[in-house]
Symmetry: C2
Subunit: 447 residues, 2 copies
């Protein structure tokens, strides 16, 4: 499948991907029409579905309002459901394919529809009504639990029976590229008798994948696990920035609050399940214990998405990959999270976001946050430093407990940049389906 | 202060109150203009600010967009801030006062502006972006903690140092009058070795007051405690419907989830701080321990709002008041909740909702939920029954452990109706400022 628009080798966004996003021009406006556009990524370009719609395309999607691309957000497309998503994808793949002249041969329209990614600013893909974060990685829950309660009691009694989750803060979800500020908060210093209010000294990332909800359900009408994947519009990468010292002091008994509500960062391109289809795979078996029938699927599946986290330490130009993990490690699937979330009647709305929780694998190098990688700050992660003061740098090498001379971290320091990446394929003749970048820099605290 | 519109004695909504709400006609439309109106309550009527605005009134509020009453929600007015709120209130009080003929003497306009409450349906006052629930009553936290951990360890170590809160579910917030359905969920029966999926058998109410956020703050810019009350547009009653058996099994370690996300019910009229001003009072002292400076106010205040909960048992016509409490019992004030919530940079947006947590007082009869009133189902609440099968009934009498022959409850049964009320004044020549009704009936579970 080839497009007349160039797609560099190993690019995240071939014609097979076409992830959805929301963007506006960095300067001026995109063509004539509204300020904020909806569209897809292709190679190093964005394709404006909004402009195509104004030009008369993408008008008759099943179940979709005709103004679905006109509102500067994806909520209306998400609400329309899979038949509309498939139809829009098919139309775009046809219009953009190298064998099709309809769009290619209208240079004036083409110039208004196709823009360089570097010329646009990516916004949040949807108005996120509610954001839920789960805790679906058995390895993560075990590693964290063992640190607090010992290995024998690492998993809480409920953990293998239900996908534990909590309601997160929607207002502070921000797109990739934005910087975040180290938060102040109330913490209890070791051996102190009273808490203090200070900047967090334990700022961490969390490697997660998050699902944008499609049609959703009415209050009181649960979604069954068998139909639950049809309520996933697509997936993004998520860095659930966390302040461990604030979280530790506050979280009993009602869960994380200020430790996590100061920033949650997502990658701006929503990769559809249609694009991920060739990379379906089985999740870990759930046999000891078996799960209750409302969580049991005849043929459970997830997706084989490789995930990495790179850190570029403050003042240096080289990134080090500190984590290599995979979505398929999750014990609970998004379909189970949705079935559980709605089992009591809770309604999910189009554009709601469901985070997976930190995704850790079995290997030490696959742990999805510094809390796990450094055993709550007892160990250090060693980062390659590159050349101080020079911008650029492109990842690779290094890792935990490496002997390479470098910069050491227990938690993040001011100026550190964290970059999450995710992709399927890229070898064995399978086109790479990538998620783009979820990157953010930690700024020093407010003074 | 008198209006030319009749206000019955002891009515919740005299001219001194003028709470804000959002409504539409039960049948047909309200006058000519949009389907959903914004306005205030007065006596047994609603006053459409939307229609007044169309007619040229309420046009020049400080800091407010001119279309603030045209969007069928209060978010834009909430965003405008206290000077706009005061100006709108002053204009409405003048237009509605018996000494002023400007509105009264335009019968055609009057007929479009003033509608009977029975002819309108009340909607949610705002689009609620995020909903947070706190746990601010010391008595409630102590009573609940003592049941789980014994009286000596009732309060967790953090409780007296910060207003504990968690993020709740915004999508399932519903207005008073709606019925709710007993949820299904995963619960662990006593002495069982594995959980089961069943209808909750421990459905409870929680008596709360909630604040609608006004202007709010940008991400990364905390609101100081001294200025925090200016970010409260007004207060409503809230029943945080809770399924205790689901909550108990799920809540460790990330907090309540399906136990509470199936319905949260609020009264539809938002009572402003201007209306509550005569009822300011001091909160409980915070001296042992003193709170950290970011939570310390020179002259802390709260409001003296009486609160009751009535239950009308299924199949009967008489309500019994099971709880008499007061907003002033809360250990933490809404100003402290806001300062803490934003201390790490979390942004509050206009229309966000902040629940107080269950409001219990010192007396056994002031406990704000059945969990406390019945000691987790060990005791029973006795309800007067009245005459079976007859509609109507008006509260009064009865209560916990009464000897009156009646109906007994440990938790709520299908068909029970719960009604929260709140008011200030009403005696000593002080006009009653009321909150209206927060009522809902529990329906049987989905089958
Ligand atoms: Ca997380
Ligand atoms: Ca509550
Ligand atoms: Mg977060
Ligand atoms: Mg609730
Ligand atoms: Ni180009």
């Amino acid at each position: 499948m080839e497009s007349f628009i160039e797609v560099p080798p190993d690019c995240d966004f071939p014609l097979e991907n076409l992830p959805w996003g929301v963007f506006k021009a960095r300067t001026g406006a995109i063509g004539d029409s509204p300020e904020v556009h909806v569209g897809v990524a292709l190679g190093q370009h964005v394709i404006s579905a909004t402009t195509l719609h104004v030009a008369g395309y993408l008008r008759d999607l099943p179940e979709a309002d005709t103004r679905v691309f006109a509102k500067g957000r994806l909520n209306e497309l998400m609400a329309a459901g899979r038949p509309a998503w498939r139809a829009a994808r098919a139309t775009l793949q046809r219009l953009l394919s190298s064998s099709e002249g309809e769009l290619r041969d209208q240079p004036e329209l083409l110039a208004r529809v196709v823009h360089k990614q570097e010329d646009v600013e990516m916004l949040l893909p949807a108005r996120i009504g509610d954001y839920t974060d789960f805790y679906a990685s058995r390895q993560h829950a075990t590693n964290v639990g063992a640190m607090f309660r010992g290995l024998a009691n690492a998993l809480n009694p409920n953990w293998l029976h239900l996908p534990v989750g909590y309601h997160g803060r929607a207002s502070s979800i921000i797109p990739a590229g934005a910087s975040v500020r180290r938060p102040w908060g109330q913490v209890m210093p070791a051996n102190a008798s009273a808490p203090v209010f200070s900047p967090s000294s334990q700022v961490d990332f969390e490697l997660e994948v998050a699902a944008f909800v499609g049609p959703g359900n009415a209050l009181g009408e649960p979604i069954t696990v068998a139909g639950a994947w049809d309520h996933v519009f697509g997936l993004v990468l998520m860095n659930d920035w966390s302040a461990r010292d604030i979280q530790k002091w506050e979280y009993v008994p009602l869960g994380p609050f200020n430790g996590k509500n100061w920033a949650t960062q997502i990658s701006p391109w929503v990769v559809t399940l249609e694009a991920l289809e060739p990379f379906r795979c089985s999740p870990p078996p759930q046999i000891d214990p078996e799960v209750l029938p409302y969580l049991r699927e005849a043929l459970p599946y997830t997706y084989d998405v490789e995930l990495t986290v790179d850190i570029t330490p403050a003042g240096y130009d080289r990134a080090t990959t500190v984590t290599r993990s995979n979505l398929k490690h999750l014990y609970w699937t998004f379909s189970q999270m949705i079935a559980h979330h709605t089992a009591g009647g809770c309604n999910l709305r189009p554009g709601d976001l469901l985070g997976s929780g930190t995704i850790s694998g079995e290997e030490p190098g696959s742990r999805g946050c510094l809390l796990e990688l450094t055993h709550a700050g007892r160990d250090e992660v060693v980062l390659e430093s590159g050349t101080a003061g020079v911008a650029g740098g492109d990842g690779g090498g290094g890792g935990v407990a490496s002997e390479t001379p470098g910069v050491r971290r227990r938690y993040l320091e001011d100026g550190d940049e964290v970059a999450l990446r995710g992709w399927c394929g890229g070898e064995d003749q399978r086109r790479r389906i990538g998620f783009g970048l979820c990157n953010g820099k930690l700024l020093k605290c407010r003074t």
